[in-house]
């Protein structure tokens, strides 16, 4: 039933993603971005996708490449505009991609709610702002909140550091970011890792994403890239 599939190639790992899917994509900027899985998704060909990701792509790699390939109908993110988000910027200004801006804390919490079976929650963020438009406001214990609903994915694409054969995951530093939350919130969670170790080698106290949340694992080589702003 729930056996984690360890796949030999990225192409096998992303097989079956359907047109029109909602795809949760990990990463904060480039850290934790599942580059290989996104490249695989571009080759795989699924289109009309809704992408949920903190950003809307950097340069021409990863999510930016997927956008450039014209596969994305809508982006749900907190921070699309960055110094090197020119691919998204151009598509957006051309009216070729929809955008839903969600405060970063609501983005994370709405996915957690999906993973946790919570039907909705009252968030203190964005009360009285234009991002509150159309949302129910409720005063609880003297403070105003907005009703926020879960964001579920058909698929999550996550980059982790190390997996064991049962799909337990650990991450590295701030590359952890959205990965553990997205892994809980999708029907199918696909993970790229730099290393697969035998079951029993990960410290049970330090597992961040238990294998119960993981469906497919593929090992990829670490990718070297330049970080913007590196001095």
């Amino acid at each position: 039933m729930s056996q984690v599939q360890h796949l030999d190639s990225v192409d096998e790992a992303v097989a079956g993603i359907e047109d029109g899917s909602t795809v949760l994509v990990g990463g904060f900027g480039l850290a934790g971005m599942p580059f290989d899985l996104i490249d695989g998704l571009i080759r795989q060909g699924a289109t009309d996708l809704t992408i949920v990701c903190n950003n809307a792509g950097n340069g021409e790699v990863g999510l930016a490449a997927l956008l450039q390939a014209g596969r994305v109908r809508k982006v749900i993110c907190s921070f699309p505009r960055q110094s090197d988000s020119y691919v998204f910027d151009a598509l957006y200004r051309a009216g070729r991609v929809e955008l839903e801006v969600v405060p970063q804390g609501n983005l994370a919490e709405r996915m957690r709610a999906a993973g946790a079976g919570i039907g909705g929650f009252y968030s203190p963020t964005a009360v009285g702002t234009m991002l509150a438009e159309g949302k129910e406001t409720r005063t609880i214990d003297g403070r105003d909140y907005l009703l926020e609903l879960p964001i579920r994915g058909d698929v999550a694409l996550v980059s982790a550091h190390r997996a064991d054969r049962m799909g337990n995951l650990v991450y590295r530093k701030t590359a952890r970011n959205f990965g553990p939350v997205m892994a809980t919130a999708a029907e199918t969670t696909i993970v790229q890792v730099h290393e697969v170790v035998p079951t029993g080698e990960l410290d049970p106290e330090a597992v961040v994403t238990p294998g119960i949340f993981v469906d497919r694992v593929v090992r990829v080589a670490p990718r070297h890239y330049t970080v913007q702003g590196a001095r």
Partner: protein
């Protein structure tokens, strides 16, 4: 012949698909673990914060920091992980467990479950994780005797004891028969030492046959 509890636990273990994530309720359901083979790949969840729980701890293995939901000492299998209570119940309530096996006072033909409160006026209510499990696991199996100590059926048209969850049970294992329950009512899957007509005589619930 009616099955004994051990035989019944073995049947449930056989019905759990390989590699399932499973939570076994306190009490009799715990026995199902004794019949799961390592090769099945089944992973046990305990709501007090662990996946890949191992068998009961004995002697030197006993560690007061490592218990199951019934507070009994258990062991850890390779590939285990620990997490806090909110994360543990996220697994349950978020629909990530494939199967849970619970005891019950009553199950209705539509899958309603009563297993937490006897309904007696002086009872001290104690729900634990029963309501979370009932609504959270993808499949809820109940393991119970078909009749209570007074001989009254526990598979009923409608629960008279306080409910744990609505329409949440999918299958009921008893010493005399296994039933599917749900929107279509009770369906007999298997009988042990009794005919379906024999069951019909003793139950107030319309029964169809698989």
């Amino acid at each position: 012949m009616a099955l004994n509890p051990d035989e019944l636990a073995a049947i449930i273990a056989g019905d759990i698909p390989p590699y399932s994530y499973v939570n076994l309720g306190i009490g009799r359901p715990t026995r199902v673990a004794d019949h799961l083979t390592p090769g099945s790949g089944v992973v046990l969840h305990t709501e007090n914060g662990m996946l890949n729980m191992g068998p009961a701890a004995t002697g030197e293995q006993v560690d007061t920091d490592l218990t199951n939901a019934g507070k009994q000492p258990v062991t850890e299998l390779p590939g285990a992980s620990y997490f806090h209570h909110a994360d543990s119940f996220m697994m349950m309530r978020g629909g990530h467990l494939d199967v849970c096996v619970l005891g019950a006072f009553q199950v209705a033909a539509n899958g309603d479950l009563a297993n937490w409160h006897t309904g007696e006026a002086d009872a001290i209510p104690a729900v634990g994780g029963a309501m979370d499990l009932a609504i959270g696991a993808r499949q809820v199996f109940v393991l119970m005797s078909l009749f209570d100590k007074q001989g009254r059926p526990k598979l009923v048209p409608e629960c008279t004891q306080p409910l744990t969850g609505l329409a949440c049970v999918s299958r009921v294992y008893t010493e005399l028969a296994v039933f599917d329950v749900g929107p279509g009512g009770a369906v007999v899957r298997d009988t042990f030492g009794i005919t379906v007509d024999g069951l019909r005589e003793r139950l107030d619930v319309p029964l169809s046959v698989l």
